[in-house]
Structure formats: C-alpha cells, structure tokens
Symmetry: D2
Subunit: 375 residues, 4 copies
C-alpha cells in the first residue's frame, strides 16, 4: 500500500462537507431511495420517506449498468429531472451513478454527489474523469476487489485532483448463496486503518433481501461506518429493479428510528428526522426516552448500592463528591441546551434516594450477617 | 432446507441453559480465553480476565487441529486440568474443542460445553457422537461451508439426540487478504431465520488481527448475535498460537466495558463483570450513567418543545397525559427494582420544566412572527 | 512450505506400486466406479465397465459423508462385500473412502487403496491413523483448502509413517454456479512443483455434471495428472447419489478410448482395456492407427520438402543421415517389440519417396523462378 | 440464460475470419506478445518469436488499466505504432486492449482485433461501442464474473450489431494464493454449451507464473479451447509489467513445438511455424515424426496379434479387408497431399508383417497349450 500517497492514513480523518451535510463526522449520514428512478411520483414519495426517516441524501439511478442488455437501462436525462425535483421538494441532497464520460458530463453540475458503481471500480478512465470534477464521489467497492485495490481506485480520483472520495462497502462475491453478496464489515475497519477517507455501507446490495437490512445496518454502524446507503421504494413489489432488497417506506422509517441509539452506543449520532411530526409520534418518542431514563436511574441505583458496600455507614453521604458531580452535570446540561435548573432540582433528589438506598442496604446486610453469626 | 427437521425455525427461539447461564436469551454471553492452553498460570490469568470482563465462559484448546503436523498440537489431558482449575477458581463455565472420539470421551464429563471446530464441521461421525451426549455443543461454521451446510451439520447432532446446539460464525474463506477470513455477519440473521438455535460470533478467528476485534464484536451484537467468543491471552506476544489475534487482558476488559451499551441499543443486555469493583471504577460508571441521563433529558426537552408547537398556548399542560405517563413509569420502575418514590418526585419536576419550556418557546415564536409581520 | 519435510520436492518423483499397478509412472491410471455402492449387480456391472475401459482400480463408497443426516449414508460392511467381489471378478484393484477410526479398521485389510475425502482433509486424527497403515492413501483436496494446506495434510500421513500418499484434486469452492466446484488444474502443476507425490484428478465431483467430464479428463492429463478418478454407474438416472455427474458405461468406455492419444501427446501412456475385444473393435483401432500413420507420413514429406529447399540439387540424397536414422529407428523398434525387419523394409522406401519429392519440388521451384524472371 | 438471444447455442459453432486467420475452426490459434508495448525493438523481437512459434496474432498493450495510478499506464499512440510496425514486419495480425471511447477510436482502424479486458467486462458503455464497430472483439472474462454474466456481456456487443466476439477465459479470483488467479477450464466447455462463440484461453494472467504456462496451455487445448493468448517478452526480467508470467522467446517457441501433438490428440490442429527453419531443426522434427511412426507401427502389430487370436490359422490373411484398407488409405493420402504411391508400396509390407506376426503368435500359443495339456 505504498501507493496510497494521498489516500493513506493521516493524522486526522477526513470529513466531506456538502451543503451543510458532513460525511465522516460524528453524525451517521443516511442515504436512501430506489435503485432506479422510475417516475416523478415514485421519486416524490421516496424523497418524503427519506426525509421523514432523517435521511440527508436521496439516491436514484438514471443510468443503470445492468448485467443483461435487455434489462431496463435507466431513464437517463428524464429520470435525472425526477430525482432533482424530488430532492428539492424535501430539501435533500441527491446522488446518482455515472457510467461513462457522457453520463458524468450530464449530471456533474446538477447532483450533489456522484456515485461510481462496483462494476466500474476499476474503470480507470472514469476514475480519472471523476478526479477532475469538484463534487464528492461515492466509490463502491468492486464485487471481487480487495480492500487494497479499492483504495488504489480511490487513489486514482485523488491523484487526478479531487480529494472528496467516500468509500462504500457493498458486499463481495463469495460462495455463500443465501445472500446476493457477502457484506464484509471488516472492510470498514481495515479501510479506516489504511486511509483517512470516510467509509459508508450499502447493506441492500450486499444482502439482496429486505429482511437482513435492519440487522446489517445496525452492525455497520457498530463496525464504525460513517453512513448508510439503503434502498427504499414506495412499492417494492413493483420496482423495475432490486425490489426484493428494497425496504417499504414504513420499514425504512422504522429502521431509521432504531439507528439513533445504536449510533449513540458507539459514540456516534443519528437523529431520525420525521419532519411533520404528529402529536402521537412525538409522544411515542417521549415515552421511549422516559423508558430509557428510568432504566438508567435503576442502573444508577444498583451501582450506588455497590458504592455503599465499600463505605462505612457514617461515610455514605459524600457532599464533596455530590458537588463535583452537580457541577459537571450542570455544565453538560448547558452544552446540550438543557436548562441547568432542572438538573439542580432533580439531582439532589437522586442523590438523596441513593444515600437512602445505601443505608437501607447496609442495614439489611448487617442484619443478615448477625442472623448468620448466631446460627 | 427441507432437511432441517429439528433445527428449522419454530415458534420460539431456543435457549440453552448451563449451570445458570442462559445462551440465546436477552443477555449477550461473553466467552473468552486463549486459543491453546499453555500453562496453569496462563489459564489462571486468563480466567481472571474473563471474570473481570463479565465473561461467563472460559475457553482454551487442549486438542489443537493444526494445519501442519509440526505445529504445537495441544497439551491434552494435562491442559484440560489447567482449564478446569482456572474455571473453578473464577466460578466460570468452560468450553474446549474435541477432535475425535477419544478426545470427546476424555472431556465429556468434565467441561460444561464442547466445541466442534470449523475443520470438523463436516466430520459427520464426530457430529453423531456429539449428538449422543448431554452437553451443549458449539458448532463452528466451516471455512467454506454455506449456511445451509452448517445447519445440516447441526441437524446431525440434533438428529442423534442432543438438542443443545449453539451455532458459531467465525469467518469464511474469500479472496480478501487483509483479514484471515471474512466475517459473515449476514449469517447471524440468515441462521436465525432458518433455525431456532442460538448463534454466537467469534471475531478473533475471522479477523486474525487484534485491531478489528472491538468493532467486529460490537457489529456482531448489533447484527443479532447471542454471544461472543473472543481470544485473550495474558501475553499475546508469547502465545504459542494465534497471538496476533488475541486481545491483552486490558483490551479484553475495555472491550467488555463498551459492549453493554451496544447490547442495550438492540434491546439486549450485557454487564461488564468486574468482580471487586473499586470506588473509583464504580464512580466512573455512575458518571457515565449520569451523562446519559442528562442527554436523554435534553432530548426529551427538544421533543417536548415540538409537542408544544402543535398545541394552543392554553392547552400546553395536559394533566391527563401526565397521569398516564406517571402510572406507566411507576410501574416500570417497580419492575426494574427502582423505588417508585423517586419517579413520583422527579417526574412532576420534569413535566413542569417541559411545560415552561413549551410556553417560553411559543411566546418566542409569536414574537418572531409579529416581528416578521411588521417588516 | 518449510514444513514439507517428507512431502517436499526431491530428486525423483515418487511412484506408488500396488499389486502391479504403478501410480505416478508413465502410465495414466484410470479409476472408476459409482459414488456409492448400492448392490451386487451394480458393482459387477461397474467393474465390467471399468475393466473394458482399461481402468485399473474400482471405486465405490460404502461409508458416505453426506451433507444431510437424512441422505443415504452408505451400505457399510455389506457394500464393502459387493465392492470386493466385483473387483475380484474383473481382476481390478479397489479403493473406498474411510470416515473415522472404525471404518478404517473395517476396510484396511480388505481394500487396496484407501481414500480420505475432501471433508476429512483436515481431520488430522484420521490422517494420523492413515499414517500408521501400510496401504496407499488417496487424499482429496478440501473444498476450500489451499494447495499448501493440502500438502501439509499429506505431511500428517507421511510423518506418521506411511509414505504412500496420492494427492487428488477434485475442485474448489468458488462463486461460479454452473459447475458444482471449480476444477483447479493449476493445482496439478503447483503440487508437483512443491512435492514428489503423485497427483490424480477427479473431474466428476468438480464438474458435478456429466457433459464436462470428457473435456476435463483430457485437460487433466494434458496438465500433467498421473491418473483420473471418474464416476460411472450402470444407470446414472437411478443412482442414489451423484447421478448427474456419473457417466454411463458407454460414455466411460468411449472416453477411455480417447485418452490414449492425449496421454501420448504429453509423453504419457494409457491403453484402453477392452478385455474381450471383438474383431470389429480391434479393426476400428487399427483403422485409427493407420490414419495416424498416414498423417505422420504426410507431415514427414512436408518437412522433408523444406529440408530439400535448403540443399543443392545434387546433395539432396544424404546416405550418411539415412544410415543414422535407420540405426536409431531399428533400435527403437526393438525396444517397442516391433520387428526391426519391417523398419528395414519400409524406411528405404520412405527415404526414397522423400528424395524424389525434394527433387520434384526443387525443379518446380526453378521453373517458377525462371518463369518469373522472364516476365 | 434466456437473454442469450444472439449469443446462445445455435446449430453450428461460429468462426471468425480475419485476413485469412480463422478463429473457432479446426486450427488452434496462438496469440502472443508482451503485456505492455515498451519499445520498437521489444516489439520486433516479440513478433519474431510469435512468428517462429507459429503464432498468428501479435498482442501488446498500449493502454494499460493498472491497479495503481502510479504504475506504468502504457505508451498510448506511440506504442501503437511499434505494435503495428512489428506485426507488419512478420506478417502477423495484431490485437490491443481498449479502455474507453477515445482509445477505441484511436485503434479501431489500425489493429485487426480489439480486446476488452477483465476489468472492463461489465463496462457496458464500452461494450456497446464495441458493438458498433466492424472488428472482432476478444472479451475477457471478469475476475469474478460468472460464465452467465460473461456471456451476457458478450450479448451487449452482439446486440449492438457486432457478431464477431471471441470469449477469453483468463482465471477467476479464488482463495488460492499460489496462482494469481485460478484458471477455470470448465468455463471453456460451459461457454461452448451455452454459446456458439469461439473461446480462447489466457493462461499467463491466470497463473501469474511462468512455470505453469506449458501445462495449462496444453490443458486448455485438451479442454476444447480454440486458441491461446500467451505472454512472451524478449527479456522478461526487464518487462515493465507481468515479467514473472512472461515466457522467454525460447520457452514460447518450445511450447509451441509441443502443442501440435496435443491439438491433434483432440482432433484439432496446430502447426509450429518456425519461419527460417534450419536443417537441424527440420531434422529434429523429422526424428520426432519417425519416432511416432515407429510407435504406431508397434501399436498396430500388437492389435493385429489380438485380431489373430480371434481367427483360425488358415483365415489369418484376409485379402478383402486388406483391399478395403488400402483403398481408404490411398484416398486419405491424396487428401493430405501425400503421394498414394508410397502407401501402395509400404502397406503391403505392413500387412505381410502383420500376417506373419499373427501366425507366429498362434503357433507359439498352440505350443504352450499343448505343453500345458501334457502336464
């Protein structure tokens, strides 16, 4: 990998900024949409789904590299119009695949991000052209490309002058027949150890089946991916391509609703969007938050009791520590735009319950100890 | 897959109980230890590490199937003694690999779980023997076995009379050279869709390199795995086998400390063990919990403000809803062994802050609206 | 491959002798028979086919390692009887697969060669047992074994004391779905560069389809294989296993009839057997030989004319060279048990025709030259 | 494979004619040359080698798709000149790879055959362009393309209007590390069963190592390939790319010298060219032919003796059969431009020796029979 002159690991990970969206930062970026652009209505509905789910980028292919010459080859310029219009309606960025010089020329000034597909990962002439434009490039890993070859393909773009490359793992070809390809989540870690570029994951093309998208998306985030590229279609059963792997709008939104907590668990962030919240959906969200708060309070009390086990009864209350904690939490609340007043009001109560709980616990233990001693 | 007569999907997922440890339940089961048992001390230290990390099961190979006849072949019966002793010291269960009828006979009454390795996945005679004993079997997926073949191998054990099979994904052979094998996390989901058996993941053998274990372990949990089998060694640099993929004790414990929150993010549980907590480590845990509580309170306030946007100023306070919420949370607290009193004390405060925040927000909006209207 | 202490390349290639059959010598050894032994009649018919085709070794599985526990598992001891009886009837050697210690014990004193199948290639305990017997072992390459791993598996047998190992390439697992496995004929050359052991090829399991067996068998010989292991069944349509890849008796015999000339083309030998030749089949063979002789005579005359082009007209006849050639050919004839008298009679005629042809040719060229010069 | 509307199997196999060279006919077509065009001298020497070996087509890349952007990318137009000049010098056809629309445009009117490389096999836009020209296209199989995908890629060219597609198997990506790729010779048979197109084989890129080229080339012919594409370089050690897999001129010519007999063994033809034969090399060829004739005569006598075993002593001579044979051979000789006179002179001698041999044999057998009877 000596040839990773520009793509190789450097002091800081690269982030790519497009119209206010940062790829490679703390936030997980969700991209969604259908495999192929089919109609104006289909794209409008898809964009609505993506927006509701908190997605930032709308995808849709208008030039489709298809295995058979007799398969649908994409709507071309007409489809591009539908994609752009739908993205604009929902204030989303948009990405589409290019397959050669003319298609690149057609879309370069119109879309926000350009995708080079797995089949063209080693179409070096296309990579060089992609290196001469000023738009971020999503470079999908070839079906049987090693990670080294993938990074060198990225290097072609970088070496031609475009530093905005986003790597996308989308499954490799193996002997396993139950999935279309085998999603290689190790590739996320390996690519990040060799390169400073952002890495996203496309579970849809890897799995080729709808039922695995949810678990693989969460796994991708846990593995360190910076974003997800997921297929969704208003009516997968009627999709002209890749229907079986496309999520329904409901599935897409539900999945998005579950990603935030996974992102948080690995110190990343994702916010499910849901523009046009209803009172009902907002209350469901509050209920979920409340449940987590209660669980955390329960966890806290358990740990606090263990702390108590290590202290003398008369040392259970530790006001110095309480003050320190309060100071820190007030500071944290301010950072998160939470009124410090609420912290100041509820934490003394939480401390007090902790102390009471420790004392009760110690007394119970003492009693049990005595009880045993007398037997 | 018509031949999955016993292993096929049924109404409920199977759980396997061994001396109080439940595999396949809500809790993620962590298994750890060295590839090969080398000495009494090595095993004692490994067991201590596993225990501290919250692991439930100690692994260690005493019969090693090695590619070359001139590689270390395991300590056999002597090593078994070290494994058993170390597990006993830390009150852990233990698992070891068998490679033929004699090795199975030797260990069957001594260890808690028996492992059949990837190279023996289609050693059908061994599978049949494993089907005649009354111990859980961890069945590793063969290097190039399809998921269908793996499940049929499990079926051999089941059909011979032993229902306690735990499937273990450990990477498949592909063209990619940067990892020893390619961890196929789709296999977790596929195996669970076809079979009721628990599925665990061994990221160590898949990656063959230490630096990917953390991200792959988290990804495995996010993908739905029921447990992890991770190699750790008191001194990986001196391990007789698989040193480069073994975590140091510190790395193992640190990783375990990060798994709980990932498990929780997909509605599973894992508790990092740390027998012999110090005041310091407990306080670090409390601090982490407090931070999460504050973040959740901040999230809550944001959603509450959105709710406010949808209500008339005089309808902001909704006591009916508050009562309902309180009732639910009190119930939940009781379930989690948290005193309901604390909920009853702090939630009214949280409600009140929410209402105040909604009102402030609405007034600010009105002002802005007026301001704009007059321009 | 430092661990190939016994299997590594040495000055001479090893040959393995079993009751007069030499594996690894000049002769290509054909082994044939059904996947599974089914009945006495089936084996008798199979043995007859193998014998007619010039095969030396009858194969037939009595212990079948099957992917599903509910598939036919072999006739065991009963089947062994059928195999032995059929081999005896046709004076063939026989080979069968063993799958564990008991099956090895059962067959070791009865069959001539023992096979260890692909799924057991890394069943190291079985390899060690195979190393302790005094029978040749056919070691099939594992489905996803590298050549290095295969040779190290052989090393297990060698290191345990049995030097008679025959390597068998039988296809590896790849992504290609049109064949059951992908026959890796490079493996023949690579294994022979790293090891002194004989290497045979099983095209039947590799292809999994009858129609490719002929071309792959010839390719295997051209690639340097020392033998072929080919499935044939009296009635493939009714075979209990592997019917689609089994040749009919007619196809097997026809293929064998085409192998001799391929073997000869790479300086190897194979004689299609056909015990009980009919006058008709013998005459067909003579016709084929005659056709080749005529073609060679035609080739000879063409080269001889080119030689003539390089000589002065009066130097065309070169009696010294003729004597040398005659001497050599007489010697060669004696070696091949051909009467030298026939050579002494016909070669002067061949020489003479050659000279006449050269002269005629030269005169024609001169005429053409003059013709052109005068234009 | 319903989409093989134009490429699918039809009544007759297609042949492709280019300036008197027929690809897909009885003759095996040898193509050779360096991976990359480097200089005028290198190409002249390569062309000389190819010509001497009986090759018909000179290859040499001037646009090189290289994994790294920092590797040599080809000499472009300058290199094209060297290739054309060298081919012209030796009266060879030439082939070069194109990588995009501009490179195709540059070479289309100059070279005889155009190659689309493995990495561009699914560059559908390039395939469509290749379908609009009137030059044969060599379409290499992608590294991880199934045979079905490869044929559909060919269908793109056919469907765009160019019927002259030559398929080229060049190895697929597998887990085996000892060869660069795994040559899939089954693909020759499978492609020919699904399609009427000619199929050639490139063993150089598959093996990636010089030592396997000879055996794989022969295996390819035995497997049914219509031609070979083999790398040769005047000085492989100094080649800018693919040196380790390039044959030296001597190796290339020697290999070619061995291909004819292999081709003949599967009813195909190949003539090693050797323009500028020396007396010595011609005599070596004659010696080889003579050796084959003697061996065939020996074979003939063996079969003739078996025929004798089946006849009464007084019926050994069968003049009717002899006349028939003679008639056929005379006819055959005429076809092959061999003087029938020689056949008429030597065959009576061969018949006579056959008869004598039968008689001697029968008498010996009788004696032995009597001898045994009296015991």
């Amino acid at each position: 990998m000596n040839d990773l002159r520009l793509g190789g690991l450097i002091a800081e990970r690269s982030t790519i900024e497009v119209k206010g969206v940062t790829i490679g930062g703390k936030e997980i970026i969700l991209m969604g949409g259908p495999c192929a652009v089919e109609s104006s209505l289909q794209m409008s509905l898809s964009a609505e789904t993506v927006k509701k789910a908190g997605g930032k980028i709308l995808r849709g292919g208008v030039f489709k590299p298809r295995t058979s010459p007799y398969s649908f080859q994409g709507l071309g310029q007409e489809g591009l119009g539908y994609l752009l219009q739908a993205a604009k309606e929902q204030d989303l960025l948009c990405v589409t695949e290019v397959i050669d010089a003319p298609s690149l020329e057609l879309v370069v000034d119109k879309v926000d991000i350009i995708q080079i597909g797995a089949r063209n990962m080693q179409n070096f002439e296309l990579l060089k052209l992609a290196g001469k434009i000023n738009k971020p490039i999503i470079l999908k890993r070839g079906l049987s490309a090693t990670i080294g070859e993938w990074l060198l393909a990225a290097e072609y773009i970088l070496a031609s002058g475009n530093p905005q490359v986003i790597l996308c793992e989308r499954g490799i070809r193996t002997f396993e027949p139950s999935t279309r390809n085998t999603l290689d989540l190790s590739a996320v870690g390996v690519a990040k150890e060799l390169s400073h570029l952002p890495v996203i994951v496309d579970p849809s093309h890897a799995a080729g089946r709808r039922d695995l998208i949810s678990s693989l998306s969460k796994a991708a985030i846990a593995a360190g991916a910076d974003g997800l590229l997921i297929e969704t279609h208003p009516n997968p059963a009627e999709a002209v391509s890749d229907g079986p792997q496309s999520l329904t709008p409901e599935q897409f939104i539900q999945l998005a609703g579950e990603l935030g907590v996974v992102a948080k668990s690995v110190k990343r962030a994702f916010t499910c969007g849901w523009k046009g919240d209803t009172l009902e959906t907002l209350r469901t969200q509050i209920d979920r938050v409340d449940q987590s708060i209660i669980e955390l309070l329960a966890d806290r009390m358990q740990i606090v009791r263990k702390v108590g086990d290590q202290k003398r009864l008369d040392r259970v209350k530790d006001t110095v520590r309480e003050k320190e904690v309060m100071l820190r939490l007030v500071h944290l609340a301010t950072e998160r735009e939470l009124s410090p007043e609420i912290v100041k009001k509820i934490y003394p109560l939480i401390f007090e319950f902790g102390v009471q709980s420790q004392i009760k616990n110690k007394l119970a233990q003492d009693k049990e100890f005595e009880h045993r001693s007398f037997q």
